[in-house]
């Protein structure tokens, strides 16, 4: 049995074909049975990802849930979280999509360095981002000092500070996903538009952007979700004050120290919002993108 089963697979790559990629294709379809060597770690991996969330559901104070949901703590924090994440995402869209286009298409020197710089906030521990923001936009920061003395603007401990912190950590997600889509898209449409006399701006607006819409929306969702979950940079840069800078993740952290049950309820709400975002993304855009 075994050699026979293996034979066709082993042969396919070498089977005559016009080019290598075509010859390799059948290899991917090898069997529906998952080898045990993969199944066990795969199941463990799944457990690592899902068991903690299951624990959250198991330990949730379901009987007190309605009361706790209408308690004073959650409303302002959730409202602030949704508001800040949305504004931050708007800023990321306005600045991130052009940045993605420049990274993908513009002919400028040092592009790989720029791309690396864009990626840094993504791999950086957010708390480091918060420290960096404080040193630049704080009252004694490099830029913040002037903002404070000239314009009277102080970003730390303000809702604007929360938005800035969120935009800092979330923008790379948008930029990279949009940039990838631009790079993958066919430049011939744009070239065709150019030969027909369209200006660069018109091409970007009418040809590039519409074809990128699914990637932009997916990137926006990712960016929004990341902004919503932002914790480290926010607590370091924007501090913690209910209604002003206490977003949901901060509320969870603070509640965990005094009232763990409240922290679980807050976490449940955040989990629900995240799952809702994921579901919306999957139905509308992710499946569409995959089938493309």
């Amino acid at each position: 049995m075994k050699p026979d089963a293996l034979k066709p697979e082993a042969l396919t790559p070498d089977s005559p074909g016009p080019s290598k990629p075509v010859g390799r294709k059948p290899r991917r379809r090898t069997g529906n049975r998952i080898p045990a060597l993969l199944l066990i770690p795969a199941a463990l991996g799944l457990a690592v990802l899902t068991v903690p969330l299951l624990g959250l559901l198991l330990r949730a104070p379901w009987s007190e849930l309605p009361q706790r949901l209408i308690s004073a703590e959650i409303g302002p924090a959730l409202r602030l979280s949704l508001l800040c994440a949305t504004i931050a995402t708007g800023i990321c869209l306005l600045l991130g999509v052009p940045l993605a286009w420049v990274l993908a298409r513009a002919d400028i020197p040092g592009k790989s360095i720029i791309r690396a710089l864009v990626t840094v906030p993504m791999v950086l521990p957010p708390i480091v981002g918060g420290v960096a923001l404080l040193l630049v936009f704080g009252r004694r920061g490099v830029i913040g000092e002037h903002l404070d003395t000239w314009l009277g603007i102080s970003l730390p401990f303000s809702t604007a500070g929360v938005v800035l912190a969120q935009a800092f950590v979330a923008m790379p997600f948008l930029v990279l996903s949009v940039e990838g889509a631009i790079r993958a898209s066919d430049p011939r449409y744009e070239e065709a538009a150019a030969t027909l006399g369209a200006s660069r701006w018109l091409i970007f607006r009418r040809v590039t952007l519409p074809s990128l819409l699914p990637a932009v929306v997916a990137g926006t969702m990712l960016c929004w979700a990341r902004a919503l979950g932002e914790f480290g940079a926010t607590i370091t840069f924007a501090g913690n004050f209910p209604g002003q800078t206490t977003t949901m993740p901060l509320a969870v952290y603070m509640a965990m120290e005094s009232d763990p049950q409240a922290a679980i309820v807050l976490s449940l709400v955040l989990l629900l919002v995240s799952v809702a975002v994921l579901a919306a993304m999957r139905d509308r855009w992710l499946t569409g993108m995959v089938s493309r």
Binding site: L134, G138, R139, R140, S154, P156, F157, I235, G239, N240, F241, P242, Q244, T245, Y253, M254, M256, E257, S258, P260
Partner: protein, 265 residues
């Protein structure tokens, strides 16, 4: 000219791949080393204790830990400093702590089921106003905390310094207008040191330890913080844990603590 350039371009991917492989190999070596260390630590647990201590004890306990290790060769004292309420929650959740030193009796009471013996009081502390050098906000006393035009940082109410702050504001009849509620006293202090706030309410010991200016106020006597210490029942090394507690209560401990500004009983 163009040919060599092209060549180097095509070569780059393989080079990068090599580099990545080398990087991964390096990472796995580091990982091995780290896990190796962890295993060694587990073996040496006979001579190692972990002390959970209030953030305000960071400097004094670090020094006491070093002195204790010198006095007892071969022993290791690890610390986890943080807000007392957070540490108490961690202990309740089964964190592997051997000794708990809290900045308030309330947080020690939270873990009363987990202590091996009744907690002992080893120090008291008082609040003081901390302002950045030069006092940019012209803060003169506790009344300034009600000024919404100033940037103010105080502790969140679940941690001892927040409870003490609430008590002094009640005693002084002031409604504070804070801009941020920090998770422990050191976080408040950091905001003052960086000049991000005009004033913060911290412990007298924190003022002494950092580059800030302290302003004492009479209401601070209304909210003295008592610091209890106790060995935890879950300790795997009760003898060493008790020895450390005794060291904190000893003459050396009292000396270090009072030098830092604590009042010792």
């Amino acid at each position: 000219m163009t040919t060599p350039k092209k060549l180097s371009l095509t070569q780059r991917p393989t080079k990068t791949r090599h580099r990545i492989h080398r990087g991964l190999a390096g990472l796995s070596i580091v990982a091995l080393a780290v896990t190796g260390c962890a295993a060694e630590d587990a073996n040496a647990s006979d001579n190692t204790i972990t002390v959970f201590a209030a953030a305000s004890l960071t400097d004094t306990f670090t020094e006491l830990g070093e002195r204790f290790e010198d006095a007892n060769p071969g022993t290791t004292v690890n610390f986890s400093f943080g807000g007392s309420s957070g540490l108490a929650q961690q202990i309740l959740s089964g964190a592997p702590a051997d000794v708990f030193a809290s900045a308030a009796t309330t947080n020690m009471d939270q873990v009363s089921a987990e202590t091996a013996s009744p907690p002992t009081l080893f120090a008291t502390n008082e609040l003081e106003i901390a302002v950045p050098p030069g006092n940019p906000g012209d803060v003169t006393g506790l009344d300034d905390f009600a000024d919404s035009g100033l940037k103010i940082a105080i502790c969140e109410e679940s941690v001892p310094c927040g409870q003490a702050a609430a008590a002094v504001f009640v005693a002084a009849g002031i409604t504070p207008q804070p801009d941020t509620l920090e998770r422990d006293v050191k976080a408040v202090l950091t905001k003052v040191v960086l000049g991000e706030v005009d004033a913060g309410l911290v412990y007298r010991t924190d003022v002494l330890a950092a580059d800030v200016t302290g302003i004492a106020f009479p209401e601070s006597e209304q909210a003295r913080n008592d610091y209890p210490i106790a060995t935890l029942a879950t300790t795997s090394n009760p003898d060493l844990a008790d020895a450390f507690v005794e060291y904190v209560l000893s003459e050396v401990g009292r000396e270090v603590l009072s030098a830092a500004g604590f009042t010792v009983p």
